[in-house]
Symmetry: C3
Subunit: 356 residues, 3 copies
């Protein structure tokens, strides 16, 4: 008995493609109480200046009890929990969809995350497959803080294992307004745009309008490592230079969510009043980034959404593009052949709320 | 209409010299709730050990409700707010004066910052001018947390624009004691100098006394970037190596306030009982600093100030000098020709409170 | 008088071997209120995922009022306080013993640290000596948070000074169970191992069992500097590259405690349910580490300890070995001649609590 036990490895190596099956429910490890310390680090890492997550007083003027943490921080914390079970053996994080931000995440709240496998598809090479999961973070009152779908390419343990029946979920191209989950009592009628930083409100933005966010941020190894550990994201490629320096890229790979947060923070300059994210419609990490890269961003308004019964606010669907080492003056995106400009690193499609 | 709007750039590019006029009032963007997370980061960035901002119990023994955040953190947060409006196009931050620390800034307090233009002076080259502003940070009860004057050299948008009438404010050489704004109920009678770290009190310091603070701190890129973002200071030169590596210095420039905080923290060794800053009398960022530089500091007591009706404490006016890559054993300051020693990076004149 | 005073240096240079004597009591400077900000930084620096210090709800399910900060953070804060008095002139930190974790350290608690000299022994070279101290951190209710013994090799001020009588304390090889100081109301009966991350409980571990913790973490200068300053540890070798680049190692030395925390965090993968440290039995910093090193870890179960009257939990005495730039697949430890494998940097002997 003792001998046998001693041989059982207690170390977790993550799930492989064969371990996933349609309808599989996963309760992720390590519930996480979010604190003012997390938000302070978030500010230090990205310099975010959106008034809602910067000032308790401002949050109260919009009907909330105090400042919730940044919506992207909520996303990263929920995402981080899923990594040990979903993507430890992932080759690529392929996409996001149907992300819905729900109850505001306040300092003191505790988030627990679960996932359901909603699709599986073996690749034709027989070595890898794509897994679709819907992950949900809930607070201590069991209210949904965030749910979103992502799909990842995962290694198979053995090439011989039989392929499962292919199921690819039918996902919304963009989260429709009737699925938004606005915070209770959230009301932008008293919105103070002197404090928020811009006179431009919902009605001032037009579909097709493009905004270059001007500033650039250079990433240091210590910064992305600290961020990614803060989210308790355990993907090895971000932390281990002993292996990564000899690996595929010759360097530690930066967590894709770090780029989302940098781009969102840079977007403040030109979209100051986009105080809250309502939905994440899609997203592609187009190219990897590494320490030393300087991130820039530009946005395009894709859609203007009128919310029924809301005179205080409207929604904008926005494409947020991040580049590396390219100041975005030419708004790089896709090239003639449909492929992305080589400097583009993120193509993110999300919906923000703005005062009317 | 739609066409026209789409052409309006919503990105802020900051004010130029012509945009400022005497008496101009500016309400700065992004009110900021300060938290225990900010203070933890401050400790991690500078290693400050002054007992007042380290221990709630110590703060209570001096009549306060709990530990206020470090006085320099209050300064940086107020300063950071002013950058997008005052110094985004600044060539140089020329000086400080009349800085008065008021109500302690407690975790949970929200700071809002305003500025008034109190002087303008075009330079003879017609390309730049000097703007003097008095900036004031107030908490959610509208109590003054900090006010100070700074003057910056700002670019003109067009050389042809006419020069305004020159107005240079008459500023105090040092903040006089009757302008100090000590916290309510602040009383150092029960001061415990075992806990604070030194037996040397106000009466033990002499005018002309010089103290070498011995230790040195090497600055990393990630550190000064995280600090400057924590203060929501948006000056581009601190963050963008893509442009700065090709710029004037070939490297990201470190925010001058980062050096003030390092020097103040280093000054603990020898001035442990200088628990609170009462005033900032003046300050010059003598030379730029870059990642890799090691900061040292030394102090000189300039003046001993007896506060009327206070038997518990007195004030010391102190010159705090910071150097780079020079251990301060020779107390480098000015040279025979009146210019600064090339290793000096900061000449800071401030007034601290000490138990009697 | 004034002249004389001006010549008294107020700068502290730390104690030398001659300054210590048996029975000496030291009250260390700078009481420290611990906050949620400290814990957030701790998570960002090490990525720790133990459920007890990650979730208030989880902590409450075990009978505590909320999440205490990580046990190692408590250790570092107490340790940091002792540095200016004990080890500023230390050549080496030789060992630890009799470490007992007591009252949980909650955000909001204020720690004050004292030490007693319990042994002195001059080395035969007459230039250095070994000092043994027992340091104790207490909270604002005077409850013991932590006590531990460490011994350090300290320089003598003058070679001629006479040697004190040698006293070497008799220390426990390992802290016996009857000296453990478990938190009041701490009860693991309702332990949820889905949330904690592993089905393996106390009964699943065997004496002699070895666990390779798989992951590696590369250390950056900014990270260890921020950590060490957070602990208000003032040892110069960690911060000053101006001197250290020309010194013994040619680089800043990383605080040994940083490695303890990295190894403990890495040990989560395989020992997820070791939610609380009960005791630190011993520890040796076998070799120095520097920025750029990648830390790996493996553990060996040394002893299984049944606690009388506790059906909810048991204790495991564990050896935690950390290496640099060696993935621990071969579990490097000691070599045939008894010396450590050259890649081993930490040999740490501690006792953890686990649900039964």
């Amino acid at each position: 008995m003792s001998e046998q036990k001693a041989k059982v490895s207690k170390t977790k190596l993550g799930n492989f493609f064969e371990d996933f099956y349609l309808g599989m429910q996963i309760e992720h490890t390590t519930p996480r109480t979010v604190t003012a310390g997390d938000q302070a680090l978030y500010t230090a890492l990205y310099g975010s200046r959106f008034a809602l997550s910067s000032s308790d007083e401002f949050a109260r003027s919009l009907g909330l009890e105090k400042s919730p943490v940044d919506d992207c921080l909520a996303f990263h914390i929920v995402f981080g929990k899923t990594v040990p079970d979903i993507s430890l053996n992932a080759i690529a994080n392929l996409g996001y969809a149907e992300g819905i931000l729900g109850a505001p995440l306040y300092p003191g709240d505790t988030v627990t995350t679960t996932s359901e496998v909603i699709g599986v598809k073996e690749n034709s090479n027989g070595k890898t497959g794509v897994v679709y999961v819907r992950s949900t973070g809930r607070n201590q009152r069991n209210e949904e803080v965030l749910q979103y779908v992502r799909w990842v390419m995962v290694r198979k343990k053995t090439v011989d294992s039989p392929a499962p029946e292919t199921v690819v979920p039918d996902l919304d191209k963009a989260v429709p307004a009737n699925k938004f989950s606005l915070p209770e009592n959230f009301d932008l009628s008293a919105f103070d745009d002197k404090l928020s930083g811009s006179p431009y409100r919902w009605s001032d933005y037009e579909v097709g309008e493009k905004i270059i966010h001007v500033d650039g941020m250079t990433i240091e190894e210590a910064e992305h490592q600290m961020a990614t550990r803060l989210y308790q994201n355990t993907a090895k490629v971000h932390f281990n230079n002993h292996t990564e320096s000899k690996g595929r890229f010759g360097a530690r790979l930066i967590y894709g969510g770090h780029i989302i947060s940098l781009a969102r923070s840079l977007s403040f300059n030109g979209m100051e009043n986009a105080v809250k994210i309502a939905a994440i419609n899609g997203g592609t990490h187009v190219a990897p980034t590494f320490a030393g890269d300087t991130i820039y961003a530009w946005s395009e308004v894709l859609e203007k959404i009128n919310l029924p019964d809301r005179n205080d606010l409207g929604a904008l669907r926005v494409r947020l593009v991040a580049t590396k080492n390219n100041n975005c003056e030419s708004m790089p995106f896709k090239q003639e052949d449909g492929s992305y400009h080589p400097d583009v690193v993120l193509d993110f499609d999300y919906t923000v709320l703005m005062p009317k």
